[in-house]
């Protein structure tokens, strides 16, 4: 046995203090910024009360990032920004410098290694998304592949200010929504469409049956005696709306299905309070099959909605504000999307979304 005393174990230290990572110009002007301007797509200039200036150059990140690429970003931060950079809440990287002359060479270097600069003002910013088939057990689709394909098609909308208002796209690969896409201008959401398959041998081994039954929002799971008299469950198919909460609490109820899983598209949500109150995204397209590697039908659907919005919305109007002005019937007509039974809510408080007036546009 070794007699060397062990170094004390460090825990519960929390994150490092942010002050260590703030550029000197930020420290000096903390809480004393006066205004900002957008000098070009992806280039911000913040001006302090004393006239100090901070330039931020925003580049699209791929979210899934290798250490090799992070080191490249670190090198660029050293070369142009005194070693300082930050990430945004939408997976963008922002290089922070007080030297205006560094902007163009930095942009050129970013272009050389393949990272577009943009995402400011009335543009489409980066997509926030989830893990998909790369790292999740309940994914109804991949996340990164669709995001890459959609943004390849919309890259020009990231690098320019050509939209009427801000447009935020988010993707979640199942209803768990670790991406919380439910308040996005356009939400791409993976959906399951067949009921979970009950593995009756595994249920009593790996799951607590009462917890499993309680996990169903519609009461579709019922107790049943399984093989060898052991507890099991059955699912009332008509009551299942494929949320997969039961699968989350019990691995013996797999729901993933290669042929029937796919994508739904939702529109008109927002988080900001600017002008209108925050709102949920609403169903536009109930189902598009998975079609890897590039999901062309999903890309076409999103691009079509973006184009129709860009053509018809007024300046500053977000997707949801535009649709509320013109009315949903006109949206479905302009976007050439069929309206189906799936578009009418039938869960709790569903009546709140019914048209409860005689206000109809003809």
């Amino acid at each position: 046995m070794s007699t060397t005393p062990k170094a004390p174990r460090i825990t519960d230290i929390g994150p490092p203090h942010y002050e260590k990572f703030l550029p000197p110009v930020v420290k000096k002007n903390y809480g004393k910024w006066k205004y900002h301007e957008v000098l070009a797509p992806g280039v911000l200039c913040h001006v302090g009360e004393t006239g100090d200036k901070l330039y931020s150059v925003r580049a699209a990140g791929p979210r899934l990032t290798s250490i090799q690429t992070i080191r490249k970003f670190a090198d660029l931060a050293d070369k142009y920004c005194g070693g300082y950079l930050r990430y945004t809440s939408r997976n963008n990287i922002e290089f922070l410098t007080d030297k205006q002359e560094n902007i163009e060479p930095l942009k050129a270097d970013l272009a050389k290694i393949g990272f577009p600069v943009g995402g400011t003002k009335n543009s489409i910013s980066n997509i926030v998304h989830t893990q998909g088939w790369i790292h999740c057990h309940s994914a109804a689709t991949d996340a990164s592949g669709i995001v890459k394909s959609v943004m390849d098609a919309l890259c020009d909308r990231f690098t320019s200010h050509t939209m009427p208002g801000k447009l935020r796209i988010a993707l979640a690969c199942c209803l768990n929504m670790c991406g919380a896409v439910h308040c996005s201008d356009i939400a791409i959401l993976g959906v399951h469409r067949v009921i979970p398959k009950v593995n009756e041998v595994q249920v009593p081994r790996v799951c607590e049956v009462p917890t499993l039954i309680a996990s169903c929002p519609t009461g579709a799971i019922r107790p049943k005696t399984g093989p060898e008299g052991k507890p099991s469950v059955e699912i009332v198919a008509e009551q299942c709306m494929f949320c997969a909460n039961c699968y989350t609490v019990c691995p013996a109820l797999p729901i993933n299905d290669a042929e029937n899983d796919g994508i739904s598209i939702w529109v008109g949500g927002k988080v900001s309070n600017a002008r209108s109150a925050p709102k949920f995204s609403k169903l536009a397209i109930p189902y598009i099959p998975n079609n890897p590697p590039r999901w062309p039908e999903v890309v076409d659907a999103v691009v079509k909605i973006v184009d129709v919005y860009a053509k018809h919305a007024r300046k500053y109007e977000r997707m949801g504000e535009w649709i509320e002005r013109i009315g949903w019937p006109r949206f479905f007509e302009l976007a050439e999307i069929p309206f189906t039974r799936y578009h009418i809510d039938d869960f709790r408080h569903a009546g709140l979304t019914y048209a409860r007036s005689a206000h109809v546009r003809y």
Binding site: H17, G31, Y35, I67, A77, G83, D142, H182
Partner: protein, 398 residues
């Protein structure tokens, strides 16, 4: 999957995703696979998923670091004989620096640790804001954690615990921050380290701190407790700058006054007048003319409660709990309120019931009684329109 270059599997489908102008995650995995075998197997398995249209990950198992109940998501592949290097491929959530500010030095230290102990693949960042270190084996979890701690980083939250709080850039780089979001986020994170690392709640609990009603961290949609900066007094106006905008690219009537939700602004061609009593603090006019307008000087925050994604009773937005807390009182108010909310949730919350759902189930009035807040009209879009009132038993003529 047959060998192709440098021991990497053949990936006909994924190779398609290396093309095009947007940054490619496939290039990223391949870059990691140059030096890491688990990244090679990840490529192989993902290619298979693309062919079969289905994922190959099993449910998470319970793995972690000593003394913590969270911060690690167990992940096992369901075809380990085919992809042995990702038989276990666990995620570590690392609490990001508040505001996602880094130095190149700090990033390199994380990269070096992850090169030594994991796949070399990360997410910058995960949906809740953590640095996600994607993929390592069970035996590497504790050594990785210890090395991270030595360079000043700790794990983030997972499971039924406080999740890693996040904040917008706030006063560090925004003139609209109505309170110090980064300080608040850091202080709250440090204050609840035990609740963050050791899950003891019915379900997850998220704090998100936004400095103004633009809500850049989506707190109203994604946080159980949403703290959104705002102001109480008059919007600050620089008349000279307003006129400069008017003579430039802004049509003040059309772009500002007509879009004001409470129609509290008037423009006579020279002067902008604001009826501040009618202002709902939406930020639109300030967003359009950042040089001319600014939030008032009496600053603080609104505290809202209960937002969440759909699982399990449906998605919710947060609703107003305290319409205004002065910035100086914010930290103590949040702490006191949180204690009372967690007591109520501990007592009545069922398994996997978020606080917003519990409030829906038991009613906001019962919740207000429990946390000791008086009802105020700012809490509702409108008073109830149904007459099924739970009158409390009248006492002696009350």
């Amino acid at each position: 999957m047959a060998d192709a270059t440098n021991g990497k599997p053949k990936t006909e489908m994924l190779d398609e995703l290396e093309k095009g102008p947007w940054p490619s995650f496939v290039k990223e995995i391949k870059a990691a696979a140059d030096t890491n075998d688990s990244a090679k197997d990840l490529l192989g398995q993902l290619e298979l998923s693309y062919h079969q249209k289905i994922g190959h990950w099993k449910h998470g198992g319970i793995v972690g670091v000593l003394g913590y109940g969270g911060g690690v998501i167990g992940r096992y592949c369901d075809i380990p004989e085919q992809f042995p290097k990702i038989a276990h491929f666990h995620t570590m959530r690392v609490n990001m620096p508040t505001g996602w500010f880094y130095t190149s030095d700090a990033l390199r230290k994380i990269c070096d640790i992850w090169e030594k102990h994991g796949s070399g693949i990360t997410n910058m960042h995960g949906s809740t804001g953590d640095i996600i270190l994607l993929g390592t084996t069970t035996d590497q979890l504790e050594p990785t954690f210890q090395e991270l701690c030595k360079v000043g980083f700790d794990l983030g939250g997972s499971g039924s615990a406080v999740r890693t709080p996040s904040a917008c850039v706030g006063m560090a780089r925004c003139e609209w921050a109505c309170y110090d979001t980064m300080k608040m986020c850091y202080d709250i994170t440090q204050n609840y380290q035990d609740e963050l690392h050791r899950p003891a709640f019915p379900y997850k609990f998220k704090f998100k701190f936004s400095g103004c009603p633009n809500d850049c961290v989506a707190s109203i949609a994604r946080a159980d407790m949403s703290v959104i900066g705002t102001w109480k007094d008059d919007i600050q106006v620089d008349e000279g700058e307003v006129r400069k905008y008017a003579s430039g690219q802004v049509d003040i009537q059309k772009d500002v006054c007509d879009l004001c939700p409470s129609k509290c602004m008037k423009w006579d061609g020279k002067n902008l007048s604001i009826n501040n009593r009618d202002c709902v603090h939406c930020m639109h006019c300030i967003n359009v003319m950042p040089k001319a307008l600014a939030p008032g000087k009496e600053r603080g925050a609104i505290i809202l409660i209960g937002s969440k994604a759909p699982i399990m009773q449906g998605a919710l937005l947060s609703s107003v709990l305290i319409p205004f807390v002065p910035a100086a009182e914010l930290f103590d108010t949040i702490k006191e309120l949180t204690t009372r909310i967690w007591d109520f949730w501990d007592e009545y919350g069922t398994n996997r019931e978020r606080i917003g759902e519990l409030i829906q189930r038991m009613g906001m009035p019962a919740f207000l009684d429990a946390v000791g807040l008086d009802p105020v009209p700012e809490m509702v879009a409108a008073p109830r329109d149904n007459p099924y009132v739970f009158y409390q038993t009248a006492k002696g003529g009350e």
